[in-house]
């Protein structure tokens, strides 16, 4: 292996792995169990997994079509659309949370009607958690899937058309299976991002155990009063997400899967 590649690769791996090692070394292994068995930990973990999974599903339903429009349609202004879709990537998540308030809050452009007509408010609910996570995580999916679509040979879609498949059938039966590894990679990326989401969630959904307190929020607050507890919570989040990703990688992507997890 050439040194100009190997050396930076090793430095990079060390850079990524050492902070995790730091967490492991500083973890209070002796009172790990009492920390873990606090009801709030299980609650936050469950909420995190459920909301990140829901956010990923919503992102798939909305994001894959966006990616298709970006990669395949001849719609004018697609580059503008692409820039808009990726705004959440560069937006500080807290600002994203405020922006969500301005639209979906009870004083928001749309949220106001929900509040006035149905007496329903989105903020401070689990729905708000899913919305905040979707807002921040969906661009990762869109970009992955768009990349996969662009890399896929569009002539397969021509072939499908000559075999009587309309665009929707072509998308379902040909395009989607062809880019499935890219979609899976994007979904995993999206899920991981949603799982770690903090800023937009705590801003738009607030923080309340059981309804809106996800693991990152619990970790952050624990850091204020109980840094060792925060380390334990971080490790739990880390291991659960790693285990999930490795499991999915084997199941979905087989050995030749896309490079993730």
């Amino acid at each position: 292996m050439p040194a100009p590649l190997l050396v930076p690769a090793l430095v990079g791996v060390a850079f990524l792995v050492l902070p995790l090692l730091g967490l492991l070394i500083r973890a209070p292994w002796s009172d790990l169990w009492p920390q873990l068995t606090q009801p709030q930990v299980g609650q936050a973990l469950r909420l995190s997994l459920v909301s990140a999974t829901l956010a990923t599903l919503v992102s798939l339903v909305l994001g894959v079509p966006i990616a298709w429009v970006l990669a395949r349609s001849t719609l004018p202004g697609r580059s503008v659309l692409r820039a808009l879709v990726t705004v959440p990537l560069v937006l500080p998540p807290v600002v994203g949370g405020v922006a969500l308030f301005l639209v979906l809050g009870r004083q928001g452009i749309l949220g106001r009607y929900l509040y006035e007509e149905f007496d329903y408010t989105i903020p401070f609910t689990t729905t708000a958690v899913v919305i905040a996570e979707t807002f921040v995580a969906m661009p990762f999916l869109v970009i992955s899937v768009e990349g996969a679509l662009r890399a896929a040979d569009a002539r397969f879609e021509d072939a499908a058309a000559t075999l009587g498949a309309n665009r929707w059938t072509t998308f379902r039966r040909v395009t989607l299976p062809l880019v499935a590894p890219g979609v899976a990679a994007g979904a995993v990326l999206c899920w991981a991002r949603a799982l770690g989401e903090f800023g937009a969630t705590i801003t738009f959904a607030g923080n309340f155990p059981g309804t809106t307190q996800t693991m990152p929020l619990a970790v952050y607050l624990a850091l204020q009063s109980n840094p060792e507890g925060a380390i334990v919570l971080s490790l739990v989040l880390l291991f659960v997400s790693l285990a999930t990703l490795l499991l999915l990688r084997d199941r979905w992507l087989g050995r030749s899967g896309a490079p993730l997890a």
Binding site: T121, N207, Q213, L221, Q224
Partner: protein, 272 residues
């Protein structure tokens, strides 16, 4: 609204500068200065760099006071590190170079004193009490602390892990109220944002925060606040590289002018 220059001090600054006899090129006559009379190290001869670690709630007041001290001492540069008190305490115990530490509570100051890093005993220089912040016009019809027990209202309090949340728990316990919050905010700023956006009917924050938020929120005082008075201690640190300037800053904070600036920002002078 935010309070800026103190007119009385501006005049004093002019006099001080005149007395200095043009020793510096940065003698901007419009700048204000500290009450040098009450300072043991006043007179414009402080030099070097002063690093102050202060609780985030002190940002506006301390920045103004720092500007005054720098104007008074043209050779002096003051660097502030405003953050949560616990983060600051952690940084100081981890060896961050600081001359002065001003904490928003005794607990985080204790972290520093327990590590033996205080050069002199900390003194309480100001106090902060809780206040109810409501959106302009008080759409939720909040009248007092008892409304925090109303599950139908959308309410924010701080998480018990952070100081304002601990204080909130204290006042609720004292008042015998079971709070029904919709969210436990990670800090006062986050709670205030939600009030400013009109997304909550009320939040329990500090009086200084209500003051700092200006027209964005309205404040409602309540008697139970006296059960959780938050004391702000300040001290110079053993690692101080500029002890004279550190002491001068401490003196300025505790001077009448410093106290006035804190009062204008919603704090109150220590009761003892």
């Amino acid at each position: 609204m935010r309070l800026r220059a103190l007119p009385v001090l501006a005049v004093a600054g002019l006099l001080t500068l005149t007395a200095c006899g043009g020793s510096s090129s940065s003698s901007d006559a419009a700048s204000s200065t500290s009450a040098a009379a009450s300072s043991s190290a006043g007179g414009g001869d402080l030099t070097g760099t002063l690093t102050v670690f202060a609780a985030a709630s002190l940002t506006d007041v301390f920045t103004d006071l720092g500007d005054q001290l720098m104007a008074d001492n043209p050779e002096l540069t003051i660097t502030f590190n405003f953050a949560g008190s616990s983060a600051l305490a952690t940084q100081i115990t981890q060896g961050a170079p600081a001359d002065v530490f001003a904490s928003a509570n005794q607990k985080q100051m204790t972290v520093v004193t327990d590590a033996g890093l205080d050069a002199d005993d900390p003194t309480v220089f100001t106090e902060n009490v809780l206040e109810i912040a409501v959106p302009p016009g008080n759409p939720g019809g909040i009248t007092g602390l008892a409304d925090f027990g109303d599950a139908d209202k959308t309410l924010a309090i701080c998480a018990p892990d952070v100081p304002c949340g601990a204080a909130a728990e204290t006042v609720f316990a004292a008042a015998g109220i079971t709070a029904q919050p919709d969210t436990l905010e990670e800090d006062v700023r986050a709670a205030l944002t939600k009030v400013e956006l009109g997304e909550v009917d009320a939040a329990l924050v500090y009086a200084s925060d209500v003051q700092a938020a200006g027209d964005g929120v309205e404040g409602i005082e309540f008697p139970e606040a006296e059960d959780a008075v938050n004391e702000y201690p300040i001290c110079t640190l053993t690692g101080a590289s500029n002890p004279e300037a550190a002491q001068a800053f401490l003196d300025l904070v505790e001077s009448d002018e410093g106290q006035q600036a804190l009062t204008d920002a919603g704090f109150r002078s220590p009761s003892n």
